[in-house]
Symmetry: C2
Subunit: 230 residues, 2 copies
Amino acid sequence: MLKMKGVSKIYRTELLETQALRNFSLHVKAGEFIAVMGPSGSGKSTFLNVTGLLDSFNEGTYELDGVDVSRLNDNEMSRIRNEKIGFIFQSFNLIPDLDVADNVDVPLRYRRLPARDRKQRIEWALETVGLSGRRHHLPSQLSGGQQQRVAIARVLAGDPCIILADEPTGNLDSAMSHEIMGLLEEVHERGTTVIMVTHSTECAARANRQLHIFDGRLVDVERVVPMPLN
Amino acid sequence: MLKMKGVSKIYRTELLETQALRNFSLHVKAGEFIAVMGPSGSGKSTFLNVTGLLDSFNEGTYELDGVDVSRLNDNEMSRIRNEKIGFIFQSFNLIPDLDVADNVDVPLRYRRLPARDRKQRIEWALETVGLSGRRHHLPSQLSGGQQQRVAIARVLAGDPCIILADEPTGNLDSAMSHEIMGLLEEVHERGTTVIMVTHSTECAARANRQLHIFDGRLVDVERVVPMPLN
Ligand SMILES: Nc1ncnc2c1ncn2[C@@H]1O[C@H](COP(=O)(O)OP(=O)(O)OP(=O)(O)O)[C@@H](O)[C@H]1O
Ligand SMILES: Nc1ncnc2c1ncn2[C@@H]1O[C@H](COP(=O)(O)OP(=O)(O)OP(=O)(O)O)[C@@H](O)[C@H]1O
Ligand SMILES: [Mg+2]
Ligand SMILES: [Mg+2]
């Protein structure tokens, strides 16, 4: 359902050029649960952003659900993102002036789901992450981990066919991480494709496949050699 | 050097009242390395913000280095913060339109250190966190873990007598977390007091004392009973 071939991504500004992904080739079947690991700065978030159609790439081909992504115009890309992809961002990306319930509601409204359906999904999602008591809080009135859970609830409410999760438990204690991983497994068992970036080997162990990114490349873990900080 | 007695903190808005710290009493000696753990939403960041004079409290007394904090005016609080306290925030708090080197420079300028001294400290701090090659990047051009490392470099460059670190390795892979914990230990060995919030039991194990926060209270870990999500 996801085919990347020779994908490269360079961030260019007047002063800098950073090669974030190099010759990236990957085949993901529908319904897989993939953990993506790698050092800080190695390209994991970039990989998720390109996969989620949030960022462009410079070389190579990317086919999502049989569609050549480079053939899509902005509207079509937007529609695929809203209907098929759910994103849990590394920095949560909550809307500061919307309360918790409205933040969870945003992608549901994009999909024009009926009001009653949206309401039920929000109730259920907030309860599942333990934040029903906070539906009227603003993001600034929440702890780091609570904000992360709102981002997770937002994706659960949408029930998309692909979930792209960037460090979904980075700000959570181990009990809560365990709960969240349980939720992702449940969602996966219903057929959702989950691609999750994580630094935690325990979380990675719950996926059924592990990818390692090193300096913008996909590598086999047996061939990884410890490298200096960069 | 840090004495809290019966400190309580309530966040109040027109709609909500959240008791974030309850009857908090704590004695920290100069030069201790303390790890603070607890579930998401339990009050850890609030505790650090109150300790670091970034937030007020409603009840109780707080004495920092022999000074009753409630007697200080804004200028005096500002000066203590700039000269004595270094903060590594849970969400990094980098200034978006300053590059990496200038972000590290900010607290050094507040202290009016001479230009050559500041330059050397910045060089050393960036090298120590492995980001010398990124000194001209803007925060938006950095990965999550790179932004976290800039926040760490900013504190290292200032060499304050108290470091308050809120989840300093939350976005870092295990190799990098290990490096950062090594840096905090080194700094501690030179006499710095370190109070570090962490979800990682491995990081907590490197401190010489562990505190547990539960629903706004300081508790003894033997008496903690698993509680439902909130
Ligand atoms: N500005 C605010 N206004 C209202 N309530 C707040 C505010 N900031 C925090 N809170 C509430 O205070 C409580 C403690 O928050 P705090 O950020 O200290 O938790 P934490 O232990 O750091 O959590 P985490 O591990 O998720 O970062 C939470 O219930 C949170 O919702
Ligand atoms: N907008 C940008 N402009 C320029 N360079 C960027 C930009 N975003 C990321 N980079 C660079 O691309 C590389 C990969 O970044 P990415 O965010 O994908 O890393 P990551 O693996 O997610 O790291 P982390 O584990 O620290 O979150 C890094 O070297 C980073 O500095
Ligand atoms: Mg990242
Ligand atoms: Mg916190």
